[in-house]
């Protein structure tokens, strides 16, 4: 795996991000980042899931969305347990899909589970978006962010040359 030594701007390399929307934000942030002098030596790993901001944002967003959906379908008496149950429910499908994929000989199923989780959230959001309850706002927000990411993917495709040049400058 590639690493970059002592270059702070490497934190924002698009290749350290997973989703198009965050890649785009990272590209802008990278242009604005200046090198800071520090007594600390640093090694940055170039890996697509390395961004803390991106991963925490998505995890919290999915958790809150999942919690809102569970609150919408469970009776009020169980609400105190919902935040804890939601934590498990959000990743429970990964167990099921992962075990089935293992049966067919697949070992690394992160991508499959990632797509499956997003598809499940899309299906749930499409359904909740049609309801009259306040959870429809959460569902529309989810669909809106997905749409924004799709637009960002097109923009990133158009900027692919610039992104590659930034990568070359930093990783070389």
């Amino acid at each position: 795996m590639k690493v970059v030594r002592d270059r702070d701007e490497a934190r924002w390399l698009p290749s350290r991000h997973h989703f198009a929307l965050t890649k785009l934000v990272a590209m802008i942030a990278m242009k604005r980042t200046t090198h800071r002098d520090s007594s600390l030596k640093r090694i940055y790993a170039i890996e697509r899931d390395q961004s803390t901001l991106e991963n925490y944002s998505i995890a919290i967003w999915l958790y809150l969305t999942g919690t809102a959906y569970l609150l919408a379908v469970t009776p009020k008496v169980t609400w105190i347990l919902v935040p804890w149950i939601a934590g498990f429910a959000v990743h429970a499908p990964c167990f099921l899909i992962g075990v089935i994929a293992n049966r067919f000989g697949a070992v690394d199923n992160r991508k499959l589970n990632g797509i499956s989780t997003m598809v499940l959230f899309l299906i749930a959001s499409s359904w909740f978006a049609t309801t009259d309850s306040p959870v429809a706002i959460v569902a529309w927000l989810f669909l809106g962010i997905v749409a924004l990411n799709a637009i960002a993917a097109v923009v990133m495709w158009m900027l692919r040359g610039t992104a590659a040049a930034m990568e070359r400058r930093c990783v070389a």
Binding site: R42, E47, H91, C94
Partner: protein, 302 residues
């Protein structure tokens, strides 16, 4: 040989949880990990002895602290532990390294460029496994990690099978018997190799040195200090601290010289142990949420 009951694999130190961790690293998308780890860290708070052990240790580290506050601090310890073992498993399975920062790089370089072997003394903090892997990739010296074997026989066999895969990069020696290992390590240090030892826990069969940590009795292994004295090599205190998601800091402190000054060998070792405990107190005091000692250290010493 007696056959083990099927349910023993599900005990907290059983092999099931190691296998589940490996499986999760290969199946859970990275952007879902914060939720997964938060949930499983809360699940493991049900582990009474571990929770109690951390809470008791916290009362020593944070004198005068409340049990109520320490309960939430214990969650933070479990949370950090979960991230650390996940990062370690990720490296093993997918060769994905975290970001690294080096603090006290000059001490690290001093160790790297000096002639002869060296001893790295570390603690159960952050990811010492990841630290060893980083060392093996950045250094030309061979590293030997000394660690306590797993209590559960299935877990021990599982861990050993994983370590065999890494045998080319670094070697792991299990400190089951002080006498057998001591000669082996002495030869290695004299051959210019680096021996990394966890210096904050004593296991059965290892000679202890009684001291105090945060004002409470503590047993530290005497072996690293005796080895340094015999081989005439310095001890480098090195700590691997988790700084955030997939981000670690390698803290290398100034070396401790274990010099034979007089006839009383224990007294000379005591001077070095005092320097080490001072380092331990400063590091654990700052990063208490990453000291992964799940047994009350003072009760063990008693």
């Amino acid at each position: 040989m007696t056959r083990r009951a099927w349910w023993q694999r599900f005990l907290v130190k059983g092999v099931f949880w190691r296998q589940l961790l490996r499986w999760a690293v290969l199946n859970i998308p990275a952007w879902l990990e914060p939720v997964v780890i938060a949930w499983w860290a809360s699940f493991f708070l049900l582990w009474g002895p571990g929770r109690r052990g951390v809470m008791v240790n916290l009362t020593a580290i944070k004198a005068g602290s409340w049990a109520f506050t320490n309960f939430f601090r214990t969650y933070r310890v479990f949370w950090n532990y979960a991230w650390t073992i996940t990062d370690n498993a990720r490296y093993r399975e997918l060769q994905i390294l975290p970001d690294w920062e080096f603090d006290g790089f000059e001490n690290f370089e001093h160790m790297e460029h000096r002639e002869g072997g060296a001893i790295i003394l570390t603690a159960h903090m952050g990811s010492y496994d990841l630290g060893a892997q980083l060392f093996s990739e950045t250094s030309e010296r061979k590293i030997i990690m000394v660690r306590a074997p797993e209590v559960d026989p299935d877990t021990r066999a599982y861990e050993q099978s994983l370590h065999e895969r890494d045998a080319e990069r670094y070697r792991i020696a299990f400190n089951t018997s002080a006498g057998e290992l001591a000669l082996d390590l002495l030869t290695s240090v004299r051959n210019g190799e680096v021996v990394a030892i966890q210096g904050d826990r004593v296991t059965t069969g290892i000679s202890p040195y009684a001291t105090t940590l945060f004002g409470r009795p503590m047993l530290l292994p005497a072996g690293p200090f005796a080895l340094a004295m015999t081989a005439r090599v310095p001890i480098y205190p090195v700590f691997v601290v988790r700084r955030g998601r997939r981000r670690y800091r390698l803290v290398a402190r100034q070396p401790i010289e274990v010099v034979r000054r007089g006839r009383n060998r224990d007294e000379d070792i005591g001077i070095a142990v005092a320097q080490w405990t001072e380092q331990l107190e400063s590091v654990i005091g700052e990063w208490w949420f990453q000291w992964f000692t799940f047994e009350p250290y003072a009760e063990e010493a008693a």
